[in-house]
């Protein structure tokens, strides 16, 4: 056991730099995760906030979550591979259907449901009195959405983005299966080489990165959510995450 810990420490000392070092791998990991979450936000938030504002499409919102829960990320990676390879062949500026693209597709699909549902329910559940008062004072539809509904829904929307991000960071490990980099490399390659120290180190890094993501969002909440709306209902979560990180 002591030997394993020594090896582990040595691993962290030896493997931090270079194109296969864990600084690069962490960066790759965050790169694909970040793009997947941003793309999911770009698709889900406008649609969901419009549906929530118009108070329509409740069934769609529920279906999105259910489908999202039902699809395994591993399956999406496998399913998207033939598609992304074909795309790469036909689109000149994409060089490979392996690596980034299938990983991105799978993570995008994973990130979509929580952001979509939280945005939808967040906007839809804004107090009807505030909305009626806004309309009665002469706000137009877009003004109500931007100045009243979205700020009031912001804690819920942010919670959705946070859930998506943590899941995406944890799942980006799968990228290693389709020749992407990221921290998953250590786990997959470690299995192939029966190198327990590398597997364990990779797993540790993925776990730490997920927790850090959670912490980063609780800090972001202070900046993005209007003061009186902060820590509504999720009061215990940031503390719990912080104590794990320590």
């Amino acid at each position: 056991m002591a030997e394993f810990l020594t090896d582990l420490l040595a691993w962290f000392g030896d493997n931090w730099s270079g194109s296969t070092g864990y600084i690069t791998r962490t960066w790759e990991h965050l790169w694909v995760s970040g793009w997947a979450v941003l793309a999911a936000m770009g698709v889900a938030m406008p649609l969901a906030s419009w549906l929530g504002h118009a108070r329509r499409g409740g069934i769609l919102a529920i279906s999105v979550v259910n489908v999202g829960r039902a699809l395994p990320s591993f399956g999406i990676v496998a399913l998207s591979l033939p598609v992304t390879i074909r795309i790469a062949r036909n689109v000149p500026f994409i060089d490979s259907g392996l690596g980034f693209l299938p990983t991105f597709v799978a993570l995008f699909a994973l990130a979509l449901p929580p952001i979509f549902t939280n945005t939808y329910t967040g906007v839809r559940n804004v107090s009807p009195e505030a909305v009626e008062a806004a309309r009665g004072m002469g706000f137009r539809g877009t003004g109500i959405l931007w100045k009243v509904e979205l700020p009031l829904a912001s804690p819920v929307i942010l919670a959705g983005i946070r859930t998506s991000s943590v899941q995406v960071v944890a799942t980006a490990t799968l990228g290693a299966l389709v020749a992407y980099g990221g921290l998953g490399r250590y786990i997959i390659d470690g299995f192939a080489l029966r190198d327990n120290v590398t597997i364990f180190a990779g797993a540790l890094l993925v776990a730490a990165l997920s927790v850090l993501t959670e912490v980063a969002f609780s800090i972001a909440e202070r900046w993005l959510v209007p003061r009186p709306l902060r820590n509504v209902g999720t009061q215990q979560r940031p503390e719990a995450a912080a104590s794990v990180a320590r």
Binding site: S127, E129, A130, V131, E132, A133, A134, R135, G136, M137, G138, F139, R140, G143, V148, P151, L152, P226, R227, P228, L229
Partner: protein, 371 residues
């Protein structure tokens, strides 16, 4: 009963609202005129279309047919949002924006109208003062305020751009009865200074009588049963529905609207200290009582039982007891009646400050009702 067209600030002409898929209209051919500077209260049972009527004025609900004119302009020809920015709007749940400070809430319409910062800030300070909030409230959030304070912020927000017309949908409905009464008094006080044209919806007939310059009683289906100043309505209800809605204590309610100032006061069994005992006997007989009061100019000195006259040589030497049943001239006849019935004295003395003005008996008050 309704004033001439020229000074009507808000005019409804045969306004009808029929929701799709319903057999009977929610509001049926309603015509109303609200003169500038008056409070018109729409009151009636649930389903009478009072809120629908209110919301048609700022087009939160579009009328099916008919015409609504505000300040000489047909509302259906105006841009909805522009129209609403020019009309103050207060709802029962207040609907303050929880993510904005009190100052930001009040600044809502000025911001929409593109006022500059200095003007907006000045207006916020002014309104915080007008609705009697503490200046420290400025940077608080709605959740940190009491119900009564939130209500006042709601009124301040509606007044922000100084609109000539205000619409209020059960504005005092969300506060407890004690706070409500105080807010109503404050609101009337404010209205005396600001002279807005106000349409107010309530289900509470007492609130309607207290606040309205005119009261419109609506029946289910948006049918106008009567539109009149409350004291006229209480004296002469148009029909059985109105009489029933006003309640069985109609006379008492009317007394609540009649100021003592306008009533004919009685002399009462009162004599001057210099009067002869025989004068005292005469006034006691005249009023059918066995006591008399003594007043010197504008000072009511007190009263004594008639038996005191038997032993005393003159009125001046009779020991007097203080006259305890008294009321201020600024009160209503209802309060005067209450003073009479809740004391043993058959009459209440009316004062203007320290000046004694005269007496009011229950009999006198009941005669005032029918006038």
């Amino acid at each position: 009963m309704v004033s001439p067209v020229s000074d009507a600030m808000i005019r409804l002409e045969a306004v009808t609202k029929q929701y799709p898929g319903t057999m009977t209209p929610a509001v049926d051919e309603l015509s109303l005129e609200i003169p500038e500077g008056e409070i018109a209260v729409l009151v009636g049972p649930s389903g009478c279309g009072k809120t629908t009527t209110l919301k048609m004025i700022n087009r939160l609900i579009e009328p099916t047919s008919g015409e609504i004119v505000v300040a000489g302009e047909r509302v259906t020809e105006m841009d909805q949002s522009e129209l609403r920015r020019g009309i103050g709007y207060v709802i029962q749940q207040i609907g303050l924006f929880p993510h904005r400070t009190i100052a930001e809430n009040i600044a809502t319409v000025p911001k929409l109208l593109g006022w500059d910062k200095a003007r907006t800030n000045e207006r916020i300070d002014e309104l915080i003062d007008v609705v009697q909030l503490e200046p420290e409230m400025r940077d608080r959030y709605p959740a940190e305020l009491s119900g009564g304070q939130r209500q006042r912020v709601g009124v301040a927000r509606a007044l922000a751009a100084d609109p000539p017309v205000m619409l209020m949908d059960e504005p005092f409905g969300a506060v407890d009865p004690i706070v409500r009464s105080a807010l109503q008094d404050q609101f009337l006080d404010l209205q005396h200074r600001l002279n807005k044209t106000i349409v107010l919806v309530t289900h509470d007939i007492d609130e309607a009588i207290k606040l309205g310059d005119r009261v419109a009683i609506l029946n289910v289906g948006g049918i106008l049963e009567q539109y009149a100043p409350p004291s006229d309505m209480l004296r002469e209800p148009a029909n059985a529905f109105v009489a029933d809605f006003l309640g069985s204590d109609r006379g008492l309610k009317r007394l609540g609207l009649l100021p003592i100032r306008n009533a004919n006061l009685e002399m009462g069994p009162v004599v001057a200290p210099t009067a002869h005992p025989q004068d005292a006997h005469r006034v006691m007989e005249q009023y059918g009582v066995d006591w008399f009061a003594v007043a010197e100019g504008k000072r009511l000195l007190g009263w004594a039982p008639g038996t005191a006259l038997e032993t005393a040589p003159d009125v001046r030497s009779i020991p007097l007891q203080p006259y305890r049943t008294r009321i201020d001239v600024g009160s209503t006849l209802k309060e005067a009646l209450d003073a009479v019935v809740s004391s043993r004295a058959p009459m209440t003395a009316v004062f203007d400050g320290d000046d004694y003005l005269g007496m009011l008996s229950a009999d006198r008050i009941s005669r005032e009702i029918v006038q």
